[in-house]
Amino acid sequence: MSGSSRLNLFPLVTQTAFLLPILVGLIFTAAPALGYLSVAGHRGFSLDPLRTLFAHPSLPGALRSTILSGAGAASASLALALWIAATVHGTRAWRVIEFSLAPLLSLPHAAFAIGFVFLISPSGWLMRAVSPSLSGFTYPPDWITAGDPWAISLTLTMILKETPFLLLMVFSGLNRLDVKRTVWIGRSLGYHRLRIWTRLLIPQLYPMLRLPLLAVLAYSLSVVDLAYIIGPSLPPTLSVLIDRWFNDPDIAYRMVGAAGAVLLFVLTLLFIALALLAEQLIKKAAAGRLLNGRRKSPFEPLAGTGSWYMMLVLLINTTSLLVLMIWSIARVWRFPDFLPSLLVISTWTDNWGRMIEPLGVSVAAALASCAISCVLVVGCLENELTLEYAKQPSIDRRSLWIVFMPLLIPQISFLFGIQVLLVFLHLDGTWLALIWIHMVFVLPYVFLTLASAYRSYDRRYSQVGLTLSWSPLKTFARIKLPILIKPILFSLAVGFSVSIAQYLPTLYVGNGRFATITTETVSLAAGSDRRIIAVYALSQVILPLLGYAAAIAIPFMMHRNRQMMRN
């Protein structure tokens, strides 16, 4: 019993270490919005920040692009992921998707967005491909593609990144359903594949997609780094506006920023509520049709398009990466040349010295936050399984919401408050604070990717160890850990890539003292030389790739003579 009560500490520590500061961060962000900011000498209650915010000329436009891109990207990504799954599942192309998801997801958002800009901008690779032969342009046209005022390019960028993520969630959800035989039964009862998906599989799948979808929604509504790279500029999205106000030399603007952060938080809650409401409405509306016995689907002629969408997603991701590679070694690349006229490696060698430190900071923060997160997640899961085995009520379902909390709240809505808190505690700009804030975002993903494999471990293997009178710890280290090494390392690789990609948390908590490869890349993207941007972006790509490579290579080396460990 003492062992399990010590395990009890893990969920407790995990929840207080993450939930409490987020709540405090929200409160410390909300206080300045209501006129309280002691560093600026404001100690009374006032609605002025809110008034200034709502009177600001940029607000309507910012709200428009935030809502269009946020809600648009989330709903389009869900629709695309389900459409691809429904039309491609069970065919050979499904295997291709399965293999391509991990590399697709390892490509950091910022690097992809930069590559995408290099692809679609008026002087980008697409335009070069048709110029001057087809388009007749010898100079880049005066068009607005990347960074358009309607935030279409930003929305597209997010769709291209979030569709693979939701597809991965569809994959892990499908693993828990007997898809093959459900489709078989459905078809033998006369139903078309698409009908089987809408009537049998999606209703069972959706509860497992709900949280990831809401996380995508909150992320799309509040993303900052992507909005800087490819979002509209006059006015920008609300999140960018808030970030600018928070960094305004005029300290009074912090309070307007705080008011904006509260508005974004409320907006996100509102859209989460709308998504949940829409789910209920669709469920109600579908209930009547679910059993009407119609076998054919009007969308049957379009069923072939699913694999084309997926190929398009793959193609855009690869060409974005490719155009980054070409720019990184280009010396002279005039418009409308399809390829550079002169190639050099000096952009790499000239910038290498400046990149070593940010790369080091990135790796150190990522390794530390992943290692601690992994220990906490394993501890929480052990506790959950011990409770379950002892038939004690387990809180796993509800704790999932708690773990997900940091992903459902806009980062910028609590980071400012956390910054205030850290300054107050004299912890701002410390490694401790940096690693901790990275863990806030790393831990949910480690939990998400590890939980199902960890829960399905056959505990009888460990019981064999215990009957040999090994200690529980030795049994864990010698039996359970090696058997689960593959999912553990994979979850670490996911956490590693999440940490590498963090932009806003690094800036706010690091208080400008930490430059990572991601913060450097995003700040360069604003208007540097394309060749240098490309070198930085590719360096950002390499780190998570190394993480995934290690996650594949280490178990392979460990178990190279063990056939049962290959799957």
């Binding site: 069970g90 065919t91 050979r92 007997d178 093959k180 035989r181 459900t182 489709v183 078989w184 039964i185 078809r187 033998s188 009862l189 006369g190 139903y191 078309h192 009537r199 049998l200 209703p203 069972q204 679910l290 059993l291 009407n292 016995g293 119609r294 076998r295």
Partner: protein, 207 residues
Amino acid sequence: MTLFLDSVQVRFGATILFKPLTLTVAPGSIATVMGPSGCGKSTLLAAVCGTLDPGFSYTGTILLNGRKLNDIAVENRKVGILFQDDLLFPHLDVFGNMAFALPAGLRRSEQQARIIASLESAGLPGFENRDIATLSGGQKARVSLLRALLAEPEAILLDEPFSKLDEDLRSSMRSFVFDRIQRMHIPALLVTHDKADSPDGTFTELN
């Protein structure tokens, strides 16, 4: 209504799974195919149903009432299937599961009448609003068969449908299934590794 398999043989790439199989199944009768696990019994059913996985292919002819099934889409074959697991849809109740199999265009009251009659005939009166999770193994197995038959298939395939049931339940389920199939007057193809599953003790070996 007759199901006729003429030298049916399934391959995975170049690997042959079993010798060519020829079988005639008369309406209302059950043909039993036996073989150890892994010999391709379920794959044979997938071939008849039309749901072979990518990479598998077969030669031979499958005829149902003179219709050549080979090139007909799965959903148009009118071939029902029953697995060892009930595969009742957990998001629907008993009524929903059975209504799913009924033809389109029925009014709610017609659906209700048919489903209630079907449940009563199987000794499950008043079960229409039950959650699947509250049914016993035997009840699930019966609802699963009723569902397959409500779609009015012209043939039914049975994939070791009794192997997961308790010993005492197994024999009553066998007679329930065989009785239903005789009454529907459709051919049935049963694959199993248990000789006792065969209604008349005869079987064809798959190897």
